[in-house]
């Protein structure tokens, strides 16, 4: 506890230190977001300053709009699949590069590299690779798998999964790096003790490593879920939301409705839905993961 000398604790730093950050935050995020929520209940067209309050009209229109409902479904499917596949693969890679293999450092640098490149750039790269005459089909032909060749991005049943594939390709190394940091924080003695007790490698992973990885799992799941829910660049660059609306997400629909159709009010209502989804999912997830973390550590 505090000694006598410490009872004369100096005053806390002044409140005005927060002012520059607060002003920037309020101007760029807080005020426009609040205005956005308000506009979602009006007939805002982006130009006319005279707004008419129309209640829930934008949202009831959305409930009857198959394109919007489809985009919401795509967004959720993308977020869930990315989270499972990217983190599953990232964990396997992390377990691989924390062994005694000689190439482990090189592999870490190489596998993480795509994560520093712009998403729009990887999207254009893969748009070509997955094209009818692209490298993926050439590779399949070269391997004698001609029948596997597909119009990957032109087939509405495949295109969405290709978007997921590209995100996983780009960010599996990112998940890996966070898992590696988590794995390295586990003391070697714990593994050795479990090994001496005769525990097999699978059991050892499940009962010893996994619970101690809880913080890394939390961070990784949060990052991939929120990234997946907001996904825009990859879809814009690879398919533009097509074919038809087969790969549209909430974010691409927001962009199209506002900037190609000029429907600002409807677009901002979609943004409110996106915000609600992100808020609900992250709160729910935080509650679950936090409980697991507390239960296991």
């Amino acid at each position: 506890m505090a000694t006598d000398l410490r009872t004369r604790r100096p005053a806390a730093p002044p409140w005005w230190f927060t002012v520059p950050a607060l002003l920037l935050f309020a101007f760029v995020v807080l005020v426009p977001s609040a205005r956005g929520v308000y506009y979602a209940f009006t007939d805002w067209d982006g130009l006319d300053p005279d707004l008419a309050f129309i209640g829930l009209d934008n949202f009831t229109a959305m409930a009857g709009d198959p394109d919007a409902l489809q985009a919401i479904r795509h967004t959720l499917v993308i977020a869930v699949t990315i989270t499972v596949v990217q983190n599953g693969l990232g964990l396997l890679l992390a377990l691989g590069v924390t062994t005694a293999i000689k190439s482990r450092n090189l592999l870490r640098v190489l596998l993480f590299a795509p994560a520093v490149v712009a998403q729009i750039v990887t999207a254009y790269l893969w748009r070509n690779l997955l094209g009818p005459d692209g490298a993926v089909n050439s590779l399949l032909a070269g391997l004698g798998l001609d029948s596997w060749r597909q119009n990957w991005l032109g087939d509405p049943d495949l295109a969405l999964w290709m978007v997921v594939l590209v995100v996983v390709w780009q960010y599996a190394g990112y998940s890996m790096v966070i898992f590696v940091a988590g794995l390295q924080s586990i003391p070697q003695e714990i593994h050795e003790a479990a090994a001496i007790d005769g525990t097999g490698p699978v059991r050892r992973f499940w009962s010893v490593t996994r619970p101690l990885l809880a913080p890394a799992i939390t961070i990784n799941v949060m990052l991939s879920v929120i990234g997946g829910l907001k996904l825009f660049d990859q879809v814009y660059g690879m398919t533009g939301g097509g074919p038809g609306h087969a790969t549209d997400t909430i974010s691409t629909l927001i962009y199209k409705d506002a900037f190609t159709l000029g429907e600002f009010g409807y677009s901002i209502a979609l943004a409110v839905v996106l915000t609600a989804v992100v808020a609900v999912v992250s709160a729910g997830q935080y509650a679950v993961l936090d409980r697991n973390e507390k239960a296991t550590t």
């Binding site: 070509n128 050439s138 599996a172 990112y174 660059g237 974010s251």
Partner: protein
């Protein structure tokens, strides 16, 4: 675990094979960027007579030089601003237990879950009315505000774990709060500043959505929108497009390879925040 057994060798082969699959797109990217458009052989066959003409044409016609300078300016200035204002704000937010402090912290943390898509359209209207559409300085302003929540979160987490003894000693020695911040707190924040610098610089440099909205149709571009404009202009001329993509990647990869340790640690560092 530390011995190199036959099983380790098998694992090593497997991991290298996986890495080769990951690297395959990059091979095709480089391969096609050096290939003349007249060469129509398979994209996976090694280009026989490599040429630099795609690069010179992409550089001249894509406005990539100007975009590169804009990206450097926007990233440098906005990251410096966001680090300065966020570290300063984090100091009282981490130290004070007053109600205003907790309230302000929660308000800023609200920004972590608000997607930019919500603020983007009203902000578009404001920026248009102010006549700032198409200016890179509007981007600097946006990033300086957008990155505040995450950066403040990192700084507050780090500061809370830091002992108060040094700043208390400085205050007892007669330092004002600003001097104590500048000469006592700031030097101790170096590890978290590296993390915040890396994460902010990568996300600002690579951001596409913001400049797509606010710079469209202007002659001021950042690298990602310049590349997108280039793809729109040379629709199916993929050798040329790949050269442009490669030009946009090289500066980032060069920095990444030079500073790989700090960068990878920076990304993993969010874990300790």
């Amino acid at each position: 675990m530390n011995r190199y057994t036959r099983r380790t060798l098998a694992l090593e082969m497997l991991m290298i094979a996986v890495a080769a699959v990951f690297a395959f797109p990059v091979y095709v990217l480089v391969n096609l960027a050096f290939r003349a458009p007249s060469d129509t052989s398979s994209p996976i066959a090694l280009t026989r007579s490599p040429t630099l003409s795609n690069f010179t044409q992409a550089w001249q016609e894509g406005g990539l030089g100007g975009a590169l300078i804009n990206s450097i300016v926007v990233t440098t200035v906005s990251v410096l601003i966001v680090l300065a204002v966020s570290s300063l704000a984090a100091y009282p937010l981490a130290r004070s237990t007053a109600r205003w402090s907790r309230g302000t912290f929660l308000l800023i943390m609200l920004g972590l879950i608000l997607p930019f898509q919500l603020a983007a359209l009203p902000l578009y209207q404001t920026v248009r009315d102010l006549g700032l559409l198409g200016s890179v300085w509007s981007l600097v302003l946006f990033y300086s505000g957008l990155q505040v929540p995450f950066t403040t979160f990192l700084y507050v987490g780090f500061l809370r774990a830091l002992p108060r003894d040094f700043e208390e000693a400085a205050t007892i020695d007669g330092c004002g709060p600003l001097t104590a911040f500048r000469y006592v707190i700031l030097p101790m924040l170096k590890p978290v500043t590296v993390t915040a610098l890396v994460l902010n610089a990568v996300s600002v440099w690579n951001d596409f959505f913001t400049p797509l909205l606010y710079l469209s149709g202007s002659d001021q571009q950042t690298m990602p929108v310049a590349v997108a404009g280039f793809v729109g202009q040379f629709v199916a001329d993929w050798n040329l497009i790949f050269a442009a993509l490669l030009i946009s990647i090289v500066p980032v990869l060069a920095v990444y390879l030079a500073l790989q340790r700090s960068i990878i640690d920076g990304f993993a560092g969010g874990l300790k925040g």
